[in-house]
Subunit: 313 residues, 2 copies
């Protein structure tokens, strides 16, 4: 138990491991069952969180894609013409609908900025590249009403990867790019290649292992595509011309390697990329700790300041 | 064995662990014996390295302290009035004399800049605060001929900590501060507190464990002082007003936690601090790999660019 983290994070680390990572659904129905159960449990806490943080949620179709628009009570004057597009985490299969908006609520609150959270399509019904198509469709609609330099894109875990893949896809389409991106502990490589998948296995208390559930979800989403295709595993893509990026991970994170490989590749491509690694944190634990831990406040505070500095006005 | 690192680094990881970390010298004479043996072996390789990198070494007393001045064949035009002060690593007891100049040679080469490497006094004869006093004495002399904004200070491991402690001490003395610092995987906390002392124990192939040799060296150097005194464990100091800092570590580094705790504390003090974490690297492995690995070139390239950007002209 690290003495170097907050009491809130110590409490999270002390909890017994959830056994969810050992589940391996065999059929589409089994997948839908577990996705629905986890989503219902996650969504239940959100009205209370929104109300305590004074963030309003509104569902809206944008570019033919379902989204939730999160509006904080106060929008910072500098953010009046800015907006963030949020892509939710969940291994490309979990957190549909409202249950995917947790991070968007925190970001709207800490950033004092409007956030559009994309409820992208997911497997088993809609594997790759459905999520990417939906992210791009929303982007194309949002740039009609906002300057691209005023728009940030962000996401954590699967959607840290999806954020990177979206920029790769926009480059292919020669579409305008966002002003900045925030990439939380990204699934930048869907294979078990990054070193911390091994060195932090079972040390990470949020995502203890690649095997079983996580690897099954990745294969289901890839739908037969090579897991190393850059639009699935963006660390194999070309980061030339990427917008400024902030990256977040933790010392116990199984995706620390994916995060630092992405950071190094961005820096070597000449991109302004700012790495933050939190002491003692497991995968995306600044998020799973919700608004309660000082580490969560610090992470979203850093992301908010990064967007503040890099987005146009 | 990570597939995500260079063949050179893979070779270093594949080597059997050295048993040096299990040694526990019992007397001053035993300490001096092992220090001398390791120093002789390290120094033997340096003439060849200097010659292949075209770096000239010259020993010179500065402020009453022994130093080595490393001059590359070509000094970059922007660096004509700049100089770097180097504090060598080695747990505050190893790498006396010429054997401590490895990193200074690499930095002079990659940075195209003059480097003064401080051969500070060490235990068993000269415990804390001798090293710090020597670093400060050299600093006070160098600022007589260079603007402080033109001087960078850098060091790795024990001397990542010593670099931070030197700035803390200069603040206490109300002396001018360096224009920028480079802090390689710092011993920022001499106690076994940082989380990666535990999670990366025996995963780190350069410095496998805190126990035995390393902890004995730390106690010997502290000479009865509390290991958590900020001038010994600078992570407990006040980083307000620090110069811009670049920090380097690796995902397998036992001092990754000390590095990220220092980074977070610098950022929270409003200091411009740039974190780099290298995939698969153990403690200071960019240095122990010498000039051979692409990772070493990348690390010193990043440090050189950081000084380039932040030092005055």
């Amino acid at each position: 138990m690290p003495q170097t983290v907050s009491p809130e994070l110590q409490k999270a680390i002390a909890r017994p491991l959830s056994n969810n990572f050992r589940i391996e659904p065999k059929t589409a129905e089994e997948w839908k069952g577990i996705v629905a159960t986890l989503a219902a449990s996650a969504a239940k806490r959100l009205p209370q969180l929104r109300s305590s943080l004074h963030v309003r949620a509104e569902s809206r179709s944008i570019g033919g894609v379902g989204t939730f628009v999160l509006t904080p009570e106060t929008i910072a004057p500098a953010n009046r013409n800015r907006v963030l597009v949020h892509l939710h985490g969940g291994a490309y299969i979990f957190s549909p609908g409202e249950s995917g908006t947790l991070e968007a609520i925190l970001m709207a609150h800490y950033g004092k900025i409007k956030v559009i959270s994309v409820d992208y399509r997911m497997p088993p019904d809609h594997p790759f590249p459905a999520a990417l198509e939906d992210a791009v469709a929303v982007w194309k609609e949002v740039v009609k009403t906002h300057k691209p330099a005023n728009i940030g894109v962000f996401g954590t875990s699967a959607s840290g990867g999806l954020t990177l893949a979206t920029v790769l896809r926009l480059k292919e389409l020669r579409a305008p790019l966002p002003g900045a991106i925030a990439v939380g502990t990204p699934s930048a490589d869907l294979t078990k290649t990054g070193d911390t998948w091994y060195t932090n296995e079972y040390i990470d208390c949020v995502n203890p292992s690649y095997d079983v559930l996580i690897s099954a979800a990745k294969r289901l989403n890839a739908g037969g595509h090579d897991l190393k295709e850059p639009l699935l595993s963006p660390v194999y893509g070309d980061f030339d011309g990427f917008p400024p990026a902030i990256l977040i991970s933790g010392t116990r994170d199984v995706l620390l390697s994916d995060t630092v490989r992405t950071h190094r590749k961005l820096r070597n491509a000449g991109v302004e990329a700012d790495l933050h690694v939190f002491e003692g944190q497991s995968h995306a634990q600044y998020l799973s700790g919700q608004s309660a831990s000082p580490e969560a406040q610090e992470a979203y505070g850093q992301i908010a300041r990064f967007f503040q500095r890099h987005l146009g006005k």
